[in-house]
Amino acid sequence: MFWHNFKNCTAVILKGKTTIFWTLIFPIALATFMYMAFGNLMEKEEMFHDINVAVVSSDEESQLMYVIDSLSEGDDSLLNAEKMTEEEAKKALSDETVEGIIFADEVRLTVNENSADASILEGILSSYKQNEYAIKNIIEEMDGMPDEAFIRTLTDDIMADVSYYTEQSVSKGNQSLYTNYFYAIFAMSCLFAAYSSITVTGNLQANESGRGMRKCISPNSKLVFILSEFFSLLVIHSVVEIIAFLYMKKVLGIDFGDKNPEILLTLFAGCMIGLAIGFIIGAVSNIGMEGKIGIVTAVGLGLSGMADLFVNGVKHAIEQHVPIINKINPAALITDCFYSLNVYDDNSVFFQNIVIMAVESVVLLLIAFMMVRRNKYASI
């Protein structure tokens, strides 16, 4: 009976096409729109470019020229400096081929507009001025004028302070802010699997459909129906999430890190809890299908909202005041799984969340079964 019903449920959903279409199109379309919206920002984050700057200087050997040359060298260069006459520099600035003009003799900067590049140039010049002031103070306190080599060494030492702090990743994961939004799509998509399960439970309730009536009068336990249909939907939705994952990874090129098995396990557990939520809502016998769709939407959006999927800070506020909610909210658990995969090399938090989702799913399914097992309806 289990396989008979499993096969039928799978066939009905696959042949019906509508459910499968919307289930698949939702994460793919949302990811595509999000990619289009973030695309530019994501590229900027990844491809930080050298800043084109014109340098006007009468002294090639000045300290500032030395600093500018050092910032323009190597693979991690910050500037693309070009020495010009004042006229050439002004023309280049008006043509927007350079972001600014550094007048090295006066240690002065001219820019056209307030941009990120202009801020960086200002920062460099400001930093130089501070260091120059510090070096002059040191020299003044020394007896006699130091030689050129000493000044160079001192300059290098002070400039080297800048790179004392280097960014070190504590994990192999991707910590991009934008990738988290794509994880959020998965969380919501998993929760919205509940739409499929309320449709399926509608076909299990005598007061909601003739098909449900036929099942109710057949000599079979409701538990068999619930389990077979749950696993059928779980397989279908897991495959859908994998397709969406592959689309985002391969087609959109989103960097989800290298923990693919763990990500897939999260999607599987997410589908499991999403479906279980749908089963328990579907098992309530005295509200119609429209009411159930409304409840699933409200619950899905509510839980997602509490997990920061729309506005940042809600989850933190919940953690401060009612932390237990974050421990049981499926949307929070799903995003936490992704977050922990991103941030920690240790998977203990991840597995803890997976276990909580599994336990919640089992409990919800059992409650759904208890609600429908010996149901006699008040009206049909």
Binding site: H4, N8, C216, I217, S218, P219, N220, Y377, A378
Partner: protein, 312 residues
Amino acid sequence: MSTVIEVNNLVKRYKDLVALDHFSLKIEEGEIFGLLGPNGSGKTTTINCILSLLSYNKGEIKVFGKEMKPTSYDAKKDIGVVMQNVAVFDELTVYENIDYFCGLYIKDKETRKKYVEEAIEFVDLSDHRKFLPKKLSGGLLRRLNIACGIAHKPKLIFFDEPTVAVDPQSRNKILEGIKTLNENGATIVYTSHYMEEVELLCSRILIMDKGKKIALGTKDELKRMIKNTETIKVEVLGLETDYLEKLKKLPHVYDAVYEEDLLQLYFSGGKHNLIRVMEFFKENDISFGRVTTELPTLNDVFLEITGKELRD
């Protein structure tokens, strides 16, 4: 013959509405038992209570001698239901639908395959086995609905208004099919508000209204319960009141109505009522048009007991 269904003192309320009011019935093995009543009389509610789908306020229901509960799987194995509304999966073909619902009862694949083929043959859908339900006409869809309900060869089959919105050809096929199922040993419970179907099919008929049993018996027994044995209708122009009064005094006439040029004479007993009426018209030299004589129907039974038409 053993009792297949026994319902005692069943009461079902929907808030203030009493859908079944101390309703009782007993159906014996091998019967085609008709539940006849107007829409809303409680026929479907009765079936749903018997099938343990509906909760009820009071009473006792036994099927195959045992109390019927949602978990009475032994009894459910031998029950088939053809519902009022077509209940199939739109996504599955004719064959797949029958196979699925049959599979809820029959585990063995080979047996199931055989049963499904027989059901398709029985409802004459062999040429449509690969059709999706949306490609079927209303009549064919009803036949598919029947096949889904009877493919597992149940001993007790409920037909809940199976011919609603069905063309005459499909209707005849459905009625013939029900007779065949009964001949093959199945006990049939047939609900309808079409009295002609019930008269044609059923060995015993229970007439119900407002959740109450009004009358029970064979069609002849039911007709004998009422005063009317014959109604003669005569088309006549401008019949004078004197003549109408004289007609009322003819032997066995218990009522006469003249409305819109149609005279209706109601008889209770008597063997030569039509001859007497014709002689009356000849003797009084009254011109008349079409003359019809009607034997009482179940509608007359219902009308006489409840004071309203069955089709109201």
